[in-house]
């Protein structure tokens, strides 16, 4: 297949990014394809830092070749000769698996005009953000860049660069083999294909599943997850990892697709599913989550650096029983400001767990206030 045909096939399949932003994959490739440059790069985002998520590890451990094949197809499509897999530092065991697979592919002559190098992260959640990731591969502090320009136009070493998630690349070989319309017919029409979900918290089957994207949250929890242990009742579920919204019972019939989740004020994110039963202290969980963001904020932009710190302080206050109604108002206002003014998705999403909980579970806050 010629580059244009490959890109067209991927675009028509309606494959959208599995890393959180849900951008049309073929469309992104097209931008890099049309960009003029001496060199272009393909990067696989294997940073997988979103708490509760390990789907990319599962793919890399069980089928590293599908990832290499997906990256190679991308390289052929956009005209790249060098690729990188940015692997989180917490997966040292996976480095060998990937390097062995790359060597095997080379030995078969499958990587004659495209080389792939594995680079390790070193423990920074923000490096999953694509421009921070690029900075990190360049050997710098992983701080996000101002956008635009976006990576397909100006990315690694300022050259056109495609950054895709592991799960996104892994979907590509089957699309090229079976055709765009085959893929587009699976799951939800606006976000077709499958999604790997990782279940944590109060479910009987704390494991992972690959499901078509028209599967509902309820099916995930009660059919795949086997329901809630010890006969307890459902309280809330957080989908998409720690940056996701907390979702109440009434929204459980929402399909795990991109726009359907956005429509209920939540996100699909990484596909992590954290279930809380009725006995859980939501305020304590939110306090821990705001501690996460306070720790992981890179400090480059003020609204995130100061905002995550203030949200954490306020949640600590509410959690230890000294919060006042005024503190809730401040969190709401601060959260709304952060959502629109932070430089990258980290700060923009940081207030989401708190704001969604204030909307759906106000009583949990109220009983804690002075």
């Amino acid at each position: 297949m010629k580059p244009e045909e490959l890109i067209d096939e991927v675009r028509q399949s309606k494959l959208r990014g599995r890393g959180g932003a849900g951008f049309n994959c073929g469309q992104k490739w097209y931008f890099a394809y049309t960009a003029r440059a001496d060199e272009k790069f393909v990067i696989c985002n294997a940073d997988e830092g979103e708490p509760g998520t390990y789907k990319d590890r599962i793919i890399m451990e069980n089928d590293p070749h599908v990832l290499i094949e997906g990256m190679t197809i991308c390289a052929t499509a956009i005209g790249a000769r060098q690729g990188y897999i940015y692997l989180r530092g917490e997966y040292p065991q996976v480095v060998n698996i990937l390097n062995t697979a790359i060597d095997q592919a080379k030995a078969r002559g499958l990587l004659d005009d495209f080389d792939i190098e594995v680079r390790s992260g070193a423990g920074a959640y923000v490096c999953g953000e694509e421009t921070a990731l690029i900075e990190s591969i360049e050997g710098k502090r992983g701080e996000p860049r101002y956008k635009p320009p976006y990576p397909p136009v100006e990315g690694l070493w300022n050259q056109p660069t495609i950054v895709n998630n592991v799960e996104t690349f892994a979907a590509v070989p089957a699309i090229v083999k079976n055709g765009a319309s085959w893929y587009a017919s699976i799951g939800h029409p606006d976000y077709p294909g499958t999604k790997i979900v990782t279940l944590t918290g109060d479910v009987n089957n704390r494991t992972f599943f690959e499901v078509p994207t028209n599967t509902t949250i309820r099916e995930i929890i009660y059919e795949f997850g086997g329901g809630i242990p010890a006969g307890k009742k459902f309280k809330a579920v957080q989908v998409g990892g720690t940056s996701g919204a907390f979702i109440p019972e009434e929204n459980l019939d929402t399909p795990l697709a991109f726009d359907t989740m956005t429509a209920i004020g939540a996100t699909l994110g990484s596909g992590a599913v954290l279930v809380l039963d009725e006995s859980r202290n939501l305020i304590d969980v939110l306090t821990r989550i705001s501690g996460f963001f306070q720790h992981e904020s890179c400090g480059k932009c003020a609204p995130c650096r100061e905002g995550t710190m203030r949200l954490y302080d306020l949640m600590l206050k509410v959690n230890n029983g000294t919060g006042k109604p005024q503190d809730i108002k401040i969190m709401q206002k601060l959260g709304n400001v952060m959502a629109i003014s932070c430089l990258c998705g980290l700060g923009q999403a940081a207030p989401a767990p708190i704001l969604s909980s204030l909307e759906h579970f106000p009583a949990d806050f109220n009983v804690k206030l002075m």
Binding site: P51, G89, Y91, A124, G139, G201, D202, F292
Partner: protein, 149 residues
Amino acid sequence: MDYKEILAQYRDLPGGIIEAFHAIQDEFGYLPEEAVLEAARGFAIPVAEAFGIATFYSMFSVKPRGKNVIRICESAPCHIAGATEVIAALERELGIKMGESTSCGRFALEFTECVGQCQGTPVITINGKPYTNVSPAAIPNILAEYKQA
């Protein structure tokens, strides 16, 4: 291997300073000050930038620490699965607090966020090796292996 030899292996790798820091840390357990200074020279970047990199990433330490680095995941899934009790058990067993190293130099206790082994919460790692479904009662057994080493 001394840090100069390690650095020399990565000098020609574009953006290779982070890989070099990993390799130095594998050897020394942390990033000695002279090694960071030498890295600044080798990669031709200001000293401030080299320290900026060394201190940005949570897996790097610019201070000496215990040889076996124990990290406890405190992300929400591990938190609700009982990470706090595991922390208490580790502190008790080693006689140190989180963020400290034992005086014999054998162990360091650190917090981490999710390490991607959430199928078995709560999770700890020792020198990068994950232990899943950890209970406070299991701590002495897990540590025994490292007490001899």
